[in-house]
Symmetry: C2
Subunit: 382 residues, 2 copies
């Protein structure tokens, strides 16, 4: 082959990686647990190595515990949370399927967008950003649209609202409709009972409640969802996320090659899940609730308030704080980052400039972080 | 909300991660460089943090050097190599487009499968596994099929064959056809000159020549490819890999949120690329070639041969070794793994049972690894 002189134009010389010591109290990523960061730096083995198969089995079983499901088809997708979200729709939606999406914030909008790309006839049932849907809202929308799939966001990270799930599965069964939920911000931070709730498909991420870096994202289907996948005509229109072929890698028997798994992200996920198992779900949920309440009380003492009025409808891991009148939300977030190394996020969409989004999730849900953030806010605002 | 007792059935108790010290001499993943494993365990920052934007810029610029391109649109996809492969087709293929794929092994077959899922009218130009296409083969196929896109695999990891690229771009220009190549196994191991070769779209992975864990995968489009993307009707039918929206995160100006990037995989990729920049491309290519030749000579001395006859058509980073008559390929690979902690892979498809696939890539392309593998093979086979 012909050769050419090497072009040195883009030969950028850089220093060693030197990241600031941020405390990540935004909507995610949240700081990884130190044990997770030790695990992720283990040397790789091959993705078909018997030793890695043990890692895969561990992850699957601990994910079942964390989600409270016995679904055999529970595994991590090789991408960040959005890839797991897309995996549910890519596999379950067939062109022309009516998909009803509960839109109470940005992530509902994203489900609408994604489902449309897979040919769904998308319908919406909505509430303003910060509210949740009532069982009546959902019931009326199911009656009206008669969907094949109902998709709800359990913890709407853009608004701080936690969608109640009681009674939804019964309605879905009555309408012969699959029930899909987004648990990106709620997994391992709020009570979730996939099986008791009658959820057919769910997805999450690694960088919030599980205290891992982003990169490998939980995904689960029950038999009703798998039956729909089994009946589908033609290939899943997404190769990377095609569960009909990925199944042979994760099924515990065949372990046949599909794509190279992100080995080290799996190491991290295993360690994050071990921490959940060690702590116990009840204790973990209670810790998130207690630190959230501590933060809410501290906000009230500073004369500030939460965007989601009803405490029962607030996501324990993610609080939307109302920006006081006359305060520049962006400037405050900038000072927190630059002076205190604390990341919080602003609002967007309907809540742009109106709220800060504050995450206390996984490893970061600790009393000292609440105390520090409140003290820093006090220094900046008062 | 109703609560339930926590089901303890799946509360698996496991020990600390304890992986065997494998030397990964298969087709990938290859062992990460120790400096990369230090980098990956750095604490995260947010994906919109100014400090992370510096990491993104570094990666993009060093990727341009490594691929020898000045394409502004050069970035890592948030998944393993197959996701980057899919990203090229998802963005560039519109339903009905004729896509001509050079099929000289499994990864050509995968391109056929993926392109079909995006509605392409897929045509093939083929050679048996282990051979490469001649410029005449390609010219005749372009004349016959008049494709919109020609996709070739530069380094066909399933066969060990390195596809020559001389003259292909000129034919593509004459046919007004985009030229797409797979450089999964060749990036940072064999000479690649994306711009000089007239390549319009390319993808790769992190876990081979770049000595990183799998998880963030290089992707590049030039202006001709971007012009096709710009002309496409309707949304890209894949949300996660949609470059029209991801562009706003990676463009160096807007940095607007699309999905949470796999932060730590980006730290790793940055360090892997720094190692390329420090070594220099000419030196790196020469190292891979020299260690491959050392291995080929050692094989000959053991009475063994390479599946790809012509040395110029062999991938320096990945050799397919013919399994001697009467030898059980799987048993030998099993002994290498269990007795020596060395991973090599078998063949599959047309080469099942007929070859071993031996990778000497990135950090692992070192003389001592050649010596060890040859000595271990000698102990097992002679």
């Amino acid at each position: 082959m012909k050769t050419y002189p090497v072009n040195e134009a883009h030969r950028l010389e850089t220093g060693q990686l030197n990241m600031p010591p941020r405390l990540l109290l935004g909507p995610g990523p949240s700081n990884a647990h130190p044990r997770v960061l030790q695990a992720i730096s283990n040397q790789q083995v091959g993705h078909l190595d018997p030793a890695f198969i043990g890692v895969m089995n561990d992850i699957q079983e601990m994910l079942r515990y964390t989600w409270q499901t016995s679904n055999p088809f529970t595994l991590p997708v090789s991408g960040t949370g959005s890839a797991a979200m897309e995996a549910t729709l890519a596999n379950l939606v067939e062109p022309g399927d009516v998909v009803l999406v509960g839109v109470i914030g940005y992530f509902g909008e994203r489900l609408v967008d994604m489902a449309g790309r897979y040919g769904a006839d998308v319908r919406r049932v909505e509430r303003p950003w910060g509210e949740v849907l009532s069982l009546d809202d959902i019931s009326r929308a199911l009656d009206e649209h008669k969907p094949t799939i109902l998709a709800l966001v359990h913890a709407e990270t853009s608004t701080g609202a936690l969608q109640p799930m009681d009674g939804v599965a019964e309605l879905c069964r009555a309408h012969n409709c699959l029930f899909l939920i987004d648990t990106v911000t709620s997994l391992a931070t709020s009570p979730i009972f996939l099986d008791e709730w009658g959820v057919d498909a769910a997805y999450s991420c690694s960088q919030k409640g599980l205290s891992c870096p982003p990169g490998a994202s939980p995904f689960s289907l029950n038999e009703r969802a798998l039956a729909k996948l089994d009946r589908r005509q033609g290939k899943v229109p997404n190769w990377y996320l095609d569960m009909t072929t990925l199944a042979n890698y994760w099924d515990g028997k065949t372990r046949s090659y599909h794509h190279t798994a992100p080995i080290n992200s799996m190491y991290a996920l295993r360690e994050g899940l071990r921490l959940v198992v060690e702590e116990g779900l009840n204790e973990r949920w209670a810790r998130h609730q207690a630190n959230a309440e501590l933060f809410w009380e501290g906000l009230a003492a500073l004369g500030m308030s939460c965007h989601v009025k009803e405490p029962a409808n607030r996501i324990p891991a993610l609080t939307t704080v109302r920006v006081p009148d006359g305060v520049d939300a962006k400037a405050v977030a900038g000072r927190l980052l630059n002076e205190y190394n604390i990341e919080v996020a602003g609002g967007f969409g309907q809540l742009a400039g109106k709220v800060w989004r504050v995450g206390l999730m996984g490893f970061n849900s600790r009393k000292e972080n609440v105390t520090l953030l409140l003290a820093a806010l006090k220094e900046i605002l008062l």
